[in-house]
Amino acid sequence: MEKRVRFNSAWLPWVLLAPQVLIIAVFFFWPAAQAVLQSMQVQDSFGLSTEWAGLENFKTLFGDSAYLESFKTTAIFSILVAVLGIALSLMLAVFADRVIKGALVYRTMLIVPYAVAPAVAGVLWVFMFSPSIGVVAYGLAKFFGFEWNHLLNSTHAMSLIVAAAVWKQISYNFLFFVAGLQSIPKSLIEAAAIDGARPWRRFWSIQFPLLTPTTFFLLVINMVYAFFDTFAIIDATTSGGPGRDTVIMVYKVYQDGVKGGDIGSSAAQSVVLMLIVVALTVLQFRYVEKKVNY
């Protein structure tokens, strides 16, 4: 990435960067710093009393077996969501690329689920999978004799949240893959076809490599999504149950912070979470980005 042609200007880059930097300084870094500060304090909910706790919150966290369990749950969940999400949507995007008739309908129907408000999406999944009134649960029992019960069965519960999380992301990933595929010059594909390459070959030797920037982008985004944006889905479907088997780290942050009003612990957990994701991202940039073709 180093040998790039660049423009020379002493002042222009600063001007270009200024809007974003200003916004994130005021609306991200300042509040984030305060959140980090809160992780080292013990506060009551209303901020009336603040006691300095140093690393006490962190120590308590790592001594809590429930918290350590959530590491494992989060790892399983995130890997499944990221891998399934990207693989499935890539497949759909590639096939969508091939289809001419009905392309608009297919693409629209695959992207629009993203427009479902998360609050409503959670409700829809309950409608489908609730052991009592769920259509899918009912169908599974009737046609396959399969007793679906995510309330008491951990595997079912994990499958449910993975499915719900992936569902929301398929639209998102699909959209970017379609855009990515569309920006590959048709001339390249045609040239390969004229040379006699079959579709599968064309995919692996031309399309996929050229899609690697998009894939890398989605890998990072999907990981961040799995780690951070999925608590609403869990809240709506399993609430972390049965027992604690679907409590992922960010859900615990939400449980302790928003539901429990324990600002200090919640902030401490967020800091740990943030450090983990930053570490994972650095790793990705270090090792995976090398394989990306720009």
């Binding site: 009551d44 609730s130 951990s154 049965p242 429990g260």
Partner: protein, 441 residues
Amino acid sequence: MKFNSFALAAGALALGLSGPAQAQVEVQWWHSMTGGLNEWVNDLAKDFNASQKDYKVVPTFKGNYDESMVAAMAAFRAGNAPAILQVFEVGTATMMAAKGAVKPVGEVMKQSGVAFDPKAYVPAVSAYYTAPSGEMMSFPFNSSTTIFYYNKDAFKAAGLDPNKAPTTWPEVVAAAAKLKANGSKCPYTTSWMSWVHLESFSLWHNTLFATQNNGFGGPGARLAFNSPLHLRHFENLANMSKQGLFVYKGRASVAVPSFVSGECAMFTGSSGSYADVAKGAKFTYGLSALPYYPDVAGAPQNTAIGGASLWVMQGKKPAEYKGVAEFFKYLSNPEVQSASHKRTGYLPITMAAYQLTEKSGFYKDKPGTDVAVTQMIRKTTDKSRGIRLGNFVQIRTILDEETEQIWAGKKEPKEALEAAMKRGNEQLERFEKASKAAAAQ
């Protein structure tokens, strides 16, 4: 500055206009009522505003109870909290501990010179929201309690008397067995596991759920539900679960549709679910008191309150507090109370309202709607005023998590209850520590 007569006149006019009886004082009210209840709240405010000219109550929906708490905390820290905040009952201890943030209702009423008699309120309801000192901290607003629902049609089909609800737990087990023999896939289920089977259960049997009179004595309380009675009850439930007589249908109120759809024949839950049942059930249903164990002395006593109350926040102007006091006075009016009770199914909070409703024949028209009230209109004992513990939201989650493992067959009742106690007590320790820190400031 030219002092001519015009300026003087204008100045005097301005002074006159800025006098006391000018624009309406707005009283911000943040609540979490959705659906039909949202309309109820808006109507209450509208009617109050129409009845007088000095104050305008402005209700704003601020998300569910968790979200509105966060909103209020954020607003308070930034200096723009609402005057009135609706807080669910499990948040009571947290609010009471936040002395610098809340203004006790008793104080608000007294300072505004509005007549206020705590004795007019239903004992089990108002006791819950009263501080150890006897001062009423928050204003009871929408209160419900745990009752028993059953499907009369299913009873008849199973050979049970549809007009005789099971009143004791042994009777529930017997009925469940008959229902199952008749083909029911779900004889009994429940919502709000902790509220029904631990909290209300304890109060109903005049047994402690936590030490220090369930937390009323102070922040040093610790959980105490590993008593023989609690254990016996959970072993009972576990056996029922193994035999298919009790089917677990989820946390919170997720199980309600299971009863309404006819899938489950017996159901324990909130009296507030009455509206759902009345609307959606396609069968004849009955309401009855929460079952109990007849061999326990002192049972049945009274049940635990659910729902929310209205708290008043600090930092507002005296005129706003007067508006709050007037609004609370309006809400306590027996006619207003009775109408609310009939409309929503929530408990009437004053004795006068209960009597008014009774006189109007409402309970005769809709049998069973007085069950909730009669469970609460008892004189409370020290052990049965209610449960007021800090970090109670987390504790309830812990109880959900641990008891779920019983139904999933992963833990025995004794193991689960002890694990729940241990984890719950950790939360209480944290709360005690934070309270001490707050008190010290």
